[in-house]
Amino acid sequence: MPKTSTLNLGTGTFVALGFAALFFLTTQTTSRGLSFGTPPHYDVTAKFDNIGDLRVGSPVSMAGVEIGRVVKIDFDTREYKAVVTMRLNDKYNLIPTDSDASIYTQGLLGGKFIGLTAGGAETYLKNGDQIDFTQSAFVLENLIGQFLANFAKGSGQSGSASSKTDAPAATAPAATEKTK
C-alpha cells in the first residue's frame, strides 16, 4: 500500500485528468458546448414547401453568423407544408418582419441550415411571429432531373442542327402523320 499522500496525489491526478477529458469531449468536440441554462431567446416559425433533410438542431444563420437553432419541425396537414420553429437568441431581436428564410446546404453534401436575409420593414420579429417569405430546400434529385431534361433538349437541338442528313428522316414520319 502506498503512503496516504502518494495515494491522494495519484487518485487526484487521475480524477482531475478524467474530468478534464470529459470536459474536453463535451465542449471541444461538439458544437453545442456546455450550456448552463438556456440564454434568453424567442421563437419564430416559417412554412416551407420542402425542407429536405433539415433536422431539429440545425443552425439558423444570418450573414453566415449562427443566431439560433431549429427546435421543432411539424407538418401542416391543411396546407401540406412543413412548419419549422426556430429559436433565435434574444441578442438578435432586430430582424425585420419581411425577412426571408431559405434552406441552404452546408458544403457540397453537408447538412441543411436556414439562412435568413434581412428585409426592409420597420417592425421586427417577436416571439411567435411567422416568416412569410420562404424558399424551400433544393433537392439534389430534382436538380439533376432538371439538368438532364435540359441536357436532353439541348443535345436534341444540336444533334438536329449538326447532322442534316438525319433530320429529314427523323421528321419525315411526323410530317406524314400530320398530313394524314
Binding site: M1, P2, L7, N8, G10, T11, T13, F14, V15, L17, G18, F19, A21, L22, F24, L25, T26, Q28, T29, T30, S31, R32, G57, Q106, G110, G111
Partner: protein
C-alpha cells in the same frame, strides 16, 4: 436422453449462476450507502483500479487513435473527403472504441487484480475472519472495490477517447496532411452531445459489469491456488464476452 438431461442441467446451472450474480449485486447495492461513508476506502480503490491503469489506457488510446487516423485517412481519401477524418475518428472513439477497449483493458488490468486479491483473501480465510469479528466483508472489502471500479471506468474511457483523438490528429493532420481546420470544424459539426452521452452511459455500464464480475469471481473463488487462478481467468473471459454483448445491446438501444 442423456444429452438432453445434461443440457438441461447446464441451463439450470447457468440460471443459478446468473441469479447469484444478481443477488450479489443487490447485496452490494444495499450496503453501498454505508460503504460511501468510508470514502477513504473507495479513494484507495479508485487509485488501484483507475490511476494505476492510466498508463496502459493512455498508451492504448494513442495507438488506437493513430491506427484510426491512418485507416480512416486511406479510406476517406478514396472519396476525396479526408476532411471528414475528424468526425469519423471522434464518433468511432467516443461511441465505440473508447468504452469497449477501455473496458477490455480494465478487465485485464484492474479486474484480474481485484479477483485475485479477493480470491486470495478467501483462500487465506481473511474474509471468514472478518465475518467472525462481525465485520461485513461485503461492506468493508467488496463494495469499495466495486464502487471504485464503477467510478474509475467512465473517467478512463474519457481519457482514452481524448488521447485517441490526439493520436488521430497526429497521424491525420501532422503526418498525412489533412487540413487542421476542417478536421476540427467537421468534428464539431458532426458530433452531438448525444454521442458523448452514449459513450458515458456505455462506459458506466461496462464499469458496473466488469467490476461486478471481478469481485463476484474473486469473492466466490474456490479457496485454493488453482481456484484463484481460475477465478482470474474467468474474470477476463466473462468480462470480455459480457462487454461485447452489452455493447451491441446498448448501441441498438441508443440508435
Amino acid at each position: 436422453m442423456k444429452v438432453i438431461k445434461e443440457l438441461w442441467q447446464s441451463l439450470i446451472d447457468a440460471l443459478i449462476g446468473l441469479g447469484s450474480v444478481v443477488r450479489f449485486l443487490l447485496r452490494m447495492l444495499m450496503v453501498t450507502p454505508g460503504a460511501l461513508l468510508r470514502f477513504d476506502l473507495i479513494v484507495q480503490q479508485i487509485f488501484n483500479s483507475g490511476a494505476l491503469s492510466l498508463v496502459i489506457i493512455m498508451l492504448a488510446g494513442l495507438f488506437v487513435g493513430m491506427v484510426l487516423g491512418l485507416q480512416g485517412f486511406t479510406l476517406l481519401q478514396r472519396f476525396g473527403s479526408e476532411g471528414s477524418l475528424g468526425v469519423a475518428a471522434a464518433i468511432g472513439l467516443v461511441k465505440e472504441l473508447g468504452p469497449v477497449i477501455t473496458a477490455l483493458l480494465f478487465a485485464g488490468r484492474a479486474g484480474t487484480a481485484l479477483a485475485s486479491e479477493l480470491g486470495l483473501m478467501r483462500a487465506t480465510d481473511q474474509l471468514s475472519a472478518m465475518e467472525m469479528m462481525a465485520v461485513d466483508p461485503i461492506k468493508r472489502v467488496v463494495a469499495p472495490r466495486f464502487l471504485g471500479g464503477v467510478i474509475a471506468m467512465p473517467l478512463l474511457a474519457a481519457i482514452f477517447s481524448v488521447i485517441g483523438l490526439y493520436g488521430a490528429q497526429l497521424v491525420g493532420v501532422q503526418i498525412m496532411g489533412v487540413d487542421s481546420g476542417s478536421f476540427w470544424s467537421q468534428m464539431r459539426a458532426g458530433v452531438d452531445l448525444r454521442d458523448i452521452r452514449e459513450g458515458i452511459v456505455k462506459s458506466l455500464i461496462f464499469g458496473v459489469a466488469c467490476s461486478l464480475i471481478a469481485v463476484y469471481e474473486g469473492y466466490y473463488a474456490t479457496p485454493t491456488a488453482a481456484g484463484v487462478g481460475r477465478a482470474t481467468t474467468r474474470t477476463v473471459v466473462t468480462s470480455a464476452v459480457v462487454v461485447l454483448f452489452l455493447d451491441y445491446l446498448l448501441t441498438s438501444a441508443f440508435l
